[in-house]
Amino acid sequence: MASRTQLLVISLGRRLSQQVKESVLAVQDYVILTGRGLAALITPPHYHRELVTQMDSIGVKSLSIVVLTGMFTGMVLALQSAASLDSFGARPYVGRLVCISMVRELGPVLTALMVTGRVGSGMAAELGSMVVSQQIDALRVLGSDPVRKLVAPRLGAALIMVPILTVISDTVGIFGGSLISIFNLKLSWEFYWRSVLNAMVINDLLMGSVKPLIFGLILSSVGCYMGLNTTGGTQGVGLSTTRSVVVASVTILSSDFFITKVLLMLFPVG
């Protein structure tokens, strides 16, 4: 007869294997959903109206928070870096530091996190509400493919708008840094901008443009997956929304490390 401890271990083992199985299945479903969404982007029929609506929602309506975030990040970066650089007598390098930090890391990551909070959660909530109110079933019954109609336009809009928002965030951030450099650090306008332009190399631009594409795909696909996977009525919608923000944010931050590692290997700096 098995002892209590053995039974407990067996029960824990079963639960763990069930969890692992469910997680693997979830990843498989997520990958297939994303793949089908991307395939629907390049094959007809296309839902142009939905794409434009989503571009407005992701791009235009996120502009204010992205500008504010970029501006203050650039300003803080200038202040902090000046304090550190002063000890080496390297204050003139503030522009260079702000520029590289914004374009390579902070611009893409902060923009993606802001858009995840505002739009990714909205996608999960909207699609989740559609699931619990049977609108997804109604779509299928009325002859529409929910992936083509709902997922593809969201992926497409995020792939277009997140890189554009990132460029805006980078620009505003560097501009914010220039305001601090001129009015607080007493550097000249020309000196700051020359330092910025000298710092920027093609690898920085490459890194700054690859990341937003991947982050846009992550935040929109996670939002769609969580939304379509909603269970448990209105309470479930709330849960999906929270999950989508948490999962997308963690995935963005962790994938940022791997993307940086790969890009630095492919295109070494200096």
Binding site: L25, A26, D29, I32, L33, R36, S129, V131, S133, Q134, Q135, I136, D137, A138, L139, R140, V141, L142, G143, S144, D145, P146, V147, Y225, L228, N229, T230, T231
Partner: protein, 293 residues
């Protein structure tokens, strides 16, 4: 539920063993338009256990049962939104249990579905909701779409709500718009999932009269899923009579004279009763007596 996304992705539960596919073609009037044969479905627990029934063209089946008895599941299986674990489901000669999303499209075009809460698209106006299927089909002109939508909204008495948003409608109005949306493509089969739940008695009467109107005037085959006995009997009793050149709803008092409507009662996924409204009303089965009381 994971089922939703797996169904959307075409990863729905493993289908039942393949059965020979009957050749597509015009429906034989003597053949049932919907046929369930020993259908089984389980999730965490058994939902349907060996359900079999036939539905002849132009007739109505009222599916009764308590919550969780598997009533709505039957409608979802007919639409191909769920796949059976075992058994076969034929709709107009096509086995829908094995079809993918693309192949289900022609079958679904023959069916109109009124969901429990209407399931109207929140972002579209009433007119756009009703027009949805016609717009998706893409081969109907905008003028004809508008004419058909207005005709359908007129049929359910809501033509003046054409430009309103679903959020501006009452529960009963939403169900009526859902009726119009389901009817706009002139389906052969109508499925009603608890269309009167949560509505006041007067609105319930309007809805049951609409069901009778669609059945009697267009000869549409229908399945009504409900746990509201009063509405189930009202649908069976109501018929459209022509008076002074207009069709008006009238009611049959003697249930024993009713034809064309069959009642089926489910209990924990098993068919507990099948028969006429009169047979249901006079049944001595203790469970049915309790349900009727």
């Amino acid at each position: 539920m994971r089922e939703t996304i797996r169904a959307i992705l075409g990863l729905a539960r493993p289908a039942a063993p393949l059965a020979p596919e009957p050749p597509p073609g015009p429906h034989d009037p003597d053949e049932p338009i919907i046929s369930f044969r020993d259908v089984h479905l389980s999730f965490d627990r058994p939902i349907l256990q060996g359900v079999s029934f036939d539905l002849a063209p132009g007739t109505t089946k009222v599916v009764l049962g308590g919550s969780g008895s598997g009533k709505t599941t039957i409608l979802r299986l007919i639409l191909g939104l769920l796949k059976p674990d075992a058994g076969s489901i034929h709709v107009d000669g096509t086995d829908v249990g094995h079809l993918g999303e693309e192949d289900l499209r022609p079958v679904r075009l023959k069916i109109g579905m009124v969901f429990q809460e209407g399931a109207l698209f929140d972002s579209l106006t009433v007119g756009e909701n009703v027009a949805y299927r016609l717009v998706e089909d893409g081969d109907v002109s905008p003028e004809e779409i508008e004419a058909r939508v207005r005709e359908m909204l007129g049929f359910v008495g809501l033509e003046r709500f054409y430009a309103r948003m679903p959020s501006e409608l009452s529960g009963g109005q939403r169900r009526r718009v859902a009726f119009a949306r389901a009817l706009v493509a002139r389906p052969q089969i109508m499925l009603y999932d608890e269309p009167t739940t949560g509505l006041d008695p007067i609105t319930c009467k309007t809805i049951t009269e609409l069901i009778a109107k669609v059945r009697d005037l267009d000869g549409v085959t229908s399945i009504l899923v409900t746990h509201q006995l009063r509405d189930a009997f009202n649908v069976a009793r109501t018929f459209m009579a022509r008076e002074n050149g207009e069709f008006v709803p009238r009611s049959v008092e003697d249930l024993s004279t009713l034809e064309g409507t069959e009642f089926m009662m489910l209990r924990e996924g098993v068919v507990e009763f099948r028969g006429t409204p009169h047979e249901l009303q006079t049944s001595e089965d203790p469970y049915i007596r309790e349900f009727l009381s």
